[in-house]
Amino acid sequence: MLDTRRIRTDFPILAQKENGQRLVYLDNAATSQKPQRVIDAIVHYYNFHNANVHRGAYTLAVEATDAYEAARTAVARFVNAWATEAVVFTRGTTESINLVAGSWGRANVKAGDTVVVTAMDHHSNIVPWQILCQEKGATLRMVEITKDGRIDLADFGRALEAGPKIVAFPYVSNSLGTVNPAAQLSRLAHAAGAVTVVDGAQSSPHLRVDVQSLDCDFYALSGHKMLGPMGSGALIARPALLEAMPPYHGGGEMIEKVWDDRSTWNKIPHKFEGGTPNVEAAVGLAAAIAYLEQLGMDKVSAHEQELAKVAIERLSQIDGVTIYGPAGGHRAGVVPFTYGDIHPHDLATILDKDGVCIRAGHHCTQPLMRRLGVAATARASFYIYNDVDDVDALVTAVRKAGELFGVLAS
């Protein structure tokens, strides 16, 4: 386990009280808290290096550009990208996926084509493809999940028979905690002639990610779930694909030459970064990556898995609690559950009274909720600063909710 006592001192927000109680922050799948080092990096950037990037001839502008491009190098190293120019900065996973749909998708998907997603995808890896398919007259095919919350590989195989142009799936499910066999899925999709889009929003904070060994084509991540600032994120893509893709946003920075009636495009990745970028977000993300690399992603992963295991064990002992997601095997630190006939929102309110912050709702996965046969679940999700005391606080508060409501087991 990580040294959570020391780690917690790096996170100023964790020192404060929630409703007079110790703050037990268990909504990390929604967003992580930020260490002082990330906050300081942003402040330092504005105090000492702020200028617009890639255009100033003066020293300050060179410093800002260097900081921004150093952040790109950090992201590339963190996911073992094919090259530094394979990293396009975006506002996060959602924008990254929309970029792929709006650029590669619009250029390559035609009427009658198929795009494949899975029933455990987050809305951000479903809706951009729905919009694309509706625009093009293409078919969106949703791969089913198994009862224990994994991608149904038989149905995945059937979906590939249509020869889809794009196959999109999450590396880690935000609603179930399932760690999908991303390399295997990518290999199968490639054999069927598709490009693969991996939603890495939940994997990037929690696993050692290597996009080259995953052998995917596009990988999307959000900085704010991995200690970085809100509005930071990246699309990591094979450089050859980026070269061939049309731009996404037109504007400054992304051009080479602008004539009265046409333009030529800048080199990748700048071709996809029209407008002044969010430099503070990139700088903050780089500091977050440095923090995670210092801990070691394998240790981060093991720590969360252990907490999830303990939480599942202890919650399962409460009569009426149902846990969702894979019973065994590799799962991330995400523990979705329901408790008898108590609605998850009531659970969340009751837990909040004890300082325990969890998420309740559909977690932006409505197709998945329909398949699970629930309107909502409660979800506890762990990160590097959580410990077994936090699990105990969760379990104690859940028991309290049961006493208040007099649970009827469903």
Partner: protein, 152 residues
């Protein structure tokens, strides 16, 4: 933040467990649907209006889609407005909203929701059924959502 017992008063827990008028009304001549897209709460409201009087009223929530606050609020609302002139129902809605906005307690059992004031994230749950009733009385065909009404 006030005590959980102020939010989940016994009458609310009771109406959550045993909602009254929890039925589809085949004779309804007014219907409305209410959605709280943030938490997934959904209500289908049925009203049988006889002239200006709410002769009968019923509601349904798809399995698991109503939290205790929204379900109990719908249940207590149906009890409060059944047999009443629509103007009285609208006045109760106003009183209920005013209470949640920090005003005086609403009349009768509706005062049980006064504790919701201290839980801002749950006010929309308490208001959902009332907005659906308002829409039904206005004969509005559009489903109401907690995101479209500014003062929800």
């Amino acid at each position: 933040m006030s005590d959980l017992g102020d939010l989940y008063q016994q009458v609310i827990l009771d109406h959550n467990r045993n909602p009254r008028n929890f039925k589809r009304l085949d004779a309804a001549n007014r219907k409305a649907e209410g959605n709280n897209p943030l938490c997934g709460d959904r209500i289908q409201l049925y009203v049988q209006l006889d002239g200006d009087t709410i002769n009968d009223i019923g509601f349904q929530m798809p399995q698991g889609s109503g939290c205790a606050i929204s379900k109990a609020s719908a249940s207590l609302m149906t009890e409060a407005v059944k047999g009443k002139p629509r103007a009285d129902a609208e006045a109760m809605f106003q009183a209920f909203r005013d209470m949640l906005a920090g005003g005086a307690n609403a009349p009768g059992k509706l005062a049980a929701f006064s504790g919701v004031r201290a839980f801002p994230s749950r006010i929309k749950c308490a208001n959902l059924a009332w907005h659906a009733l308002h829409a039904a009385l206005q004969n509005s065909a559009e489903p109401v959502t907690t995101e479209s009404a500014k003062d929800f």
